[in-house]
Every structure is written in C-alpha cells, then in structure tokens.
C-alpha cells in the first residue's frame, strides 16, 4: 500500500466507502420493511424541540387545564407542587387559588387529630387514588402510571404520547382484546387499558382556543414536557450563553497554539555532511 499511486489510493478509498455505504443502505432498507409488533410514531415539529426554542407557555397553561379536567381523574403528578406553576404559566395568586381548590390531609393538630385543610403552594398535586391497589381496582387491574416524567420515560417522548392519544382505532381482524381493553397500534402489544381519553370539545379552554382533539393532545403533552423538564428553558438559555463564550475561546486557544507551534512546524532539519 505504501507503493501505491495517489490514484490507486483514491480508488481504494472510494471502493471502501462505497462498500460500507452500500452495506449500510442495504441494512437500512432491509430493516425498514420488516414487520414490527408496534407502530413507530412519526416525528412531529414540536415548538420547543429546536436548540434555541423555549416552551410555549400558553400551551403549558392550556395543557394543565386538560390534565386537571381529563387526566387527573386517574393519573397522578406526584412530583409536581403548586409552587412550580408560579411564573411559568400562572401568577402567584392564580397558583394559590388553584392550590386552595383542593383539600389536603394535614396534622396532627394540638389535640392530636388529623384534619383537612385547603391546599397551599407548597403542597403537591393530589393523587386520584390513595394507593396503587385502589388505582388498579378502579381501572380493570391496570394502574394508571404517574405522568410527571412520562415524556422522558417512554421511547419516542412527545411523539409517542401524541400518537398514543390520537391513535385509537378498531383492532385488525384476528386480534382479540380482553374485557375493558382498547386497541392502540402505538402501544406495545396493541392492547391498552385506557379508553380514548380525548375528543373534540371535551373541555372548553379558558383562552377561547378551539378544543380540537389534536389541540388538546398537543397542549397536554407540552404541559407534560414541562413537568418532566422544568429546567428546559433555563437550560437552553444557559446553553446559548455558554456557546457564545466557548466558541470564541476555542478559536482563541487554537490560534495561540498554532502561533506557538509555528516555530517548530516551520523548522527544517538539514544535514550538511562534513567536507574533508
């Protein structure tokens, strides 16, 4: 190989790259037509997906409304306190009012009794069931999972959840479902215990946005993205600032390195044989 001409080396490189690319293309094409038991959700253009895109906070607010009026009947958000709402999609007063709508068990009081009181900012969103056994009993044996981290806890994230909520359909011929189960091609195995939760105008948005099924799904998933990644906006803002410093600093370091090394790199070793 050391004795090869430039042309031969270029040809060998091209052949190698072509063979590798061809093998990769073959594998990709082969995989794409293989039958799978689960439908993979197509990617959607979420407004917060780009490296410098923040959350749509109006959508988070609407999504909370969807969660509260539809999902909260069965699904908990046990890692989210009311105080997290402040300055994200509610003012402090709105969040306090929201918290005060629920009754929270507290105590013991001075005489040792537990008591119920209106919720405060420091309280967490209420659980729909006292424990997982009660949740399973009320839902045909399936425990509705907590939604706080659902966007991060499923492959496909927002895309999977959106298509799950909108993807219910009749089961194909030959597919048998258990009692109380529904068919959803995006759910692993196809048989899901949750009935289709969303349909157009199931709720009325405070801000007057038309509550179509896709709008409801989009908003509730944006809300759940926020519950899973409350640091999202700050993280990207911090990232932009970091890149604004890191990129010029890297360029400066590279320049100084080349400057110092130029002495050695431009050096030349010359052998002057001794003339006798």
């Amino acid at each position: 190989m050391a004795g090869w001409t430039v042309g031969k080396k270029v040809l060998a490189t091209a052949l190698g790259m072509g063979a590798t690319g061809g093998a990769g293309l073959y594998v990709a094409l082969d995989e794409s037509v293989k039958a799978d038991l689960t439908l993979h959700p197509p990617k959607l253009p979420w407004s917060h997906k780009g490296p410098i895109d923040s959350f749509d906070h109006a959508s988070i607010r609407r999504g909370y409304q969807v969660y509260k009026q539809v999902c909260a009947a069965c699904h908990s958000l046990k890692y989210i306190p009311y105080r997290h709402f402040v300055d994200v999609f509610m003012t402090e007063d709105e969040a306090k009012e929201e918290a005060a709508e629920v009754m929270v068990r507290d105590g013991p009081n001075d005489i040792g009794e537990m008591f119920d009181r209106p919720g405060k900012l420091t309280d967490y969103l209420p659980m729909p069931f006292p424990n997982s056994a009660a949740a399973a009993y009320a839902n045909n044996g399936a425990v509705p999972p907590d939604l706080s981290l659902m966007v991060l806890a499923r492959h496909g994230g927002e895309d999977y959840l959106y298509h799950l909520l909108n993807g219910y359909c009749d089961p194909p011929e030959g597919v048998e479902l258990g009692e109380g189960q529904h068919f959803n091609p995006y759910f692993p195995g196809g048989a899901i215990g949750m009935a289709p939760p969303l349909y157009t105008d199931i709720i009325e948005y405070e801000d007057g946005t038309p509550a179509t099924q896709s709008q409801l799904a989009k908003d509730v998933i944006t809300f759940l993205s926020w519950t899973a990644m409350p640091e999202h906006d700050e993280r990207k803002k911090f990232g932009m600032k970091a890149m604004l410093v890191l990129i010029p600093f890297t360029a400066l370091c590279y320049y100084k390195k080349r400057q110092y090394w130029s002495l050695l790199k431009s050096g030349k070793y010359v052998y002057n044989p001794k003339k006798y």
Partner: protein
C-alpha cells in the same frame, strides 16, 4: 523558577507540566491522557455537588434526584454534566486504550498495567453510580450484574448474598453502592498519579515508534496549549449535550422508579458497556459468559507480554493496521449487538463478533512477526 529551588511541591509541578521533556511529534491521539484527567476532575466535582443533595435509600433516592431538578439551583446542570461526563469519560478511555494498542504503548509495562486497573475501577465506578438514581434500569442492571457472581463455583451464591447485603438487591445494596461509588474515584485519582509517575520515568513514546530522545521540547507552552485546545474540543460537545439534549445517551426506562415486581422488556446497560454485554450474552453457558466478560477487558494485560515487533506500534505494518481497524469495527458492531434482544439473528452475530474480538489479540503478534521476518 526561584521558588522551585526551595519548594519540593513546586519542583514536582515544574518537572511534570512545565519543563517536562516531551517528544516534539506526538499527535492528537496523545491528548487523551490529559482529557481523561479533565474528565475525572469534572466527575469528582459534579459528583461531590450531587452528593450534597442525594439520599441513598430505596424509598427516597428516585424522588430526591427528580425533585432536585426543580428545587435545587442548577442541580439539573450537575446531573446532566455527571451523566454525560461519564459517557465522555468512556469515549476518552476507549480512544486512549486504542492509541496505546496501535502505537505499542503497552511496552511500558508498569504504565499499561496501572492503566488497565484504572479502566477496571472506572468501569466499576460507573456501574455503581448508575444504580444510585434507583430507576428501573438501575435496579435491574444491578440485579443482573451482581447475579453474575453466582456463577463462581461453590462460593458463588454466598458471594452474591454478601454483595447484596441481603437476599436481593435492596436498601443495603444501594447504601453500600453509594459508599463505594464515592470512594472509587479518589482511588482512581491516586492511580492516575501513579500512572503519570511511571510514564514520566521513561518519557512518552511517539507515533513513529522510534526513540523519543532525538527531539524533545518542554511541555510548557507547547503541550499546555495543545492540551487546552483538546479540552475545548472535548468539553464543547459535552456541554452541547448537557444544554441541548441531556438525555440523548440515556435509557427512558430509568425515568421509571425501580420496581422489583416489574421487569423491563429490554434490560441493557449504558452504551459504554454494550460491547462487554454482547460478549457476556454470546456464550450460552453462565460461567462461560462471565469468564468471557472478564477476559474481554483483562486480555489487555496480556499485551505487554505479546511478541514484540521490530518497530514499535503498527504504523509500518499494513496487515497489522488492517487487523486493528477491523477490531475497531468489531467493537462498534459489538456495541450495536449488545443493545439487541437475545434472539436470532443477533445471537449468532454476537458470537461471531466475540470470536473476532478475541482473535485480534491472538493474531496480531504472529501477523506482525511474519512481516518482520519478510523484511
């Protein structure tokens, strides 16, 4: 320089990073040593900060880690830095080892041996750390890997119970894993100092494989600046991941609280262990798989004792180069295979790839000796 004449500490610093004679022709592949030192510092620093808000208890760990995102200022940054820093640590480790294998750095027996011990300890530390958030993959990964020790003849069962601190992976396991995960990086730091000590005893090798004594320059400014550039190009993508896509390399299952009653569909480790996981699963026998897993890393200790070549490294051995880059391809494919389920055709693919992986170490010596004889 006046101070160094009187201060032993300054003298050590001066001889290590200022006036250290360094070969003039060492390439970018020699940057990974300092990069790994930077990675270790990042992991220790971010880990220390995370440990301030961590509670090692099965009822609390998952909750505390999640809560810290919203409640502890910038804890999300430290967690993302620590998680992605581990991935970059392994990128650096594997490239550093690959450099050593390609350029014949293993002839420095002490440096190489200490390096392999560092690799093993870092792998252990990463495994222990992954258990701490107590997600599904944390719990089940701990269960799978600790259960491997039951393959040891006669004492296996007792060893596993001793490791667990009980009859299953539970609170006792989590608390001791936290303690060990805290301790090991400091051991690694000490060993890294020893690694450097042995290296500086002989001096760095160079890409040509000839003696480095013909042409050396002082470490400062040349290699201080070169290493700084390397740090910038290494830390840039790390911070890019931390800020813009922190969970790209993670497993969604670990955002579900660990549940001994629910087994995940696909139990798999993080990407940096997948090659070893593929080798483990390739052998149909439990003890055989465990032995293959151990040998996959420990075989590096054999390299200083493999047949020596006339010229150090593979730069001038075309067939050796081809075999080396085949090993790189096999390593990448093993990583891919480790993420696949245990069914055909992936089982056969893993077995073939595992065979090819071990074949490299057996063939490289004879192959290069044949070329030496032909010259």
């Amino acid at each position: 320089y006046k101070a160094s004449r009187f201060s032993p500490l300054m003298s050590v610093v001066r001889h290590t990073v200022i006036t250290l004679p360094t070969p003039v022709n060492i390439s970018t592949w020699w940057n990974f040593g300092s990069l790994l030192g930077v990675c270790l510092a990042i992991q220790i620093f971010s880990g220390l900060v995370l440990s301030l808000h961590f509670t090692a208890h099965t009822d609390l760990s998952f909750y505390v880690v999640i809560q810290s995102f919203g409640d502890v200022y910038y804890n999300w940054w430290f967690r993302a830095l620590h998680a992605n820093g581990a991935s970059f640590f392994f990128i650096g480790l594997y490239l550093h080892v690959a450099r050593g294998m390609y350029y014949g750095s293993y002839v420095f027996k002490e440096v190489w041996s200490v390096g392999v011990v560092i690799l093993l300890l870092v792998m252990a530390s990463a495994f222990l750390g992954y258990v701490l958030p107590w997600g599904q993959m944390s719990f089940w990964g701990a269960t799978v890997i600790t259960s491997l020790f039951s393959a040891l003849p006669i004492i296996g069962g007792d060893v596993v119970i001793w490791l667990w601190g009980g009859f299953s992976v539970d609170n006792a396991t989590l608390t001791r894993f936290f303690g060990l995960h805290f301790l090991l990086p400091f051991t690694v730091a000490g060993l890294a100092g020893l690694h450097l000590f042995f290296l500086h005893d002989q001096g760095s090798s160079n890409p040509l494989g000839v003696s480095s004594d013909y042409n050396k320059v002082v470490f400062h400014h040349y290699y201080v600046l070169k290493d700084l550039v390397g740090v910038c190009f290494f830390v840039g993508p790390l911070l890019g991941l931390v800020y813009f896509n922190p969970w790209l390399l993670g497993d969604p299952e670990n955002f579900i609280e660990g549940n001994p009653l629910v087994t995940p569909h696909h139990i798999q480790p993080e990407w940096y262990f997948l090659f070893a996981y593929a080798i483990l699963r390739a052998v149909p026998n439990k003890l055989g798989g465990v032995v293959a897993l151990a040998v996959a890393v420990l075989i590096l200790l054999y390299m200083p004792f493999s047949p020596q070549t006339a010229i150090k490294g593979l730069s001038f051995y075309p067939w050796g180069k081809a075999l080396f880059f085949s090993l790189v391809g096999v390593f990448i494919l093993l990583t891919w295979a480790g993420a696949k389920p245990v069914e055909e055709p992936y089982v056969v693919v893993s077995q073939v790839l595992s065979f090819l992986y071990f074949s490299y170490f057996l063939l490289i010596g004879p192959l290069t000796r044949i070329q030496d004889k032909l010259l």
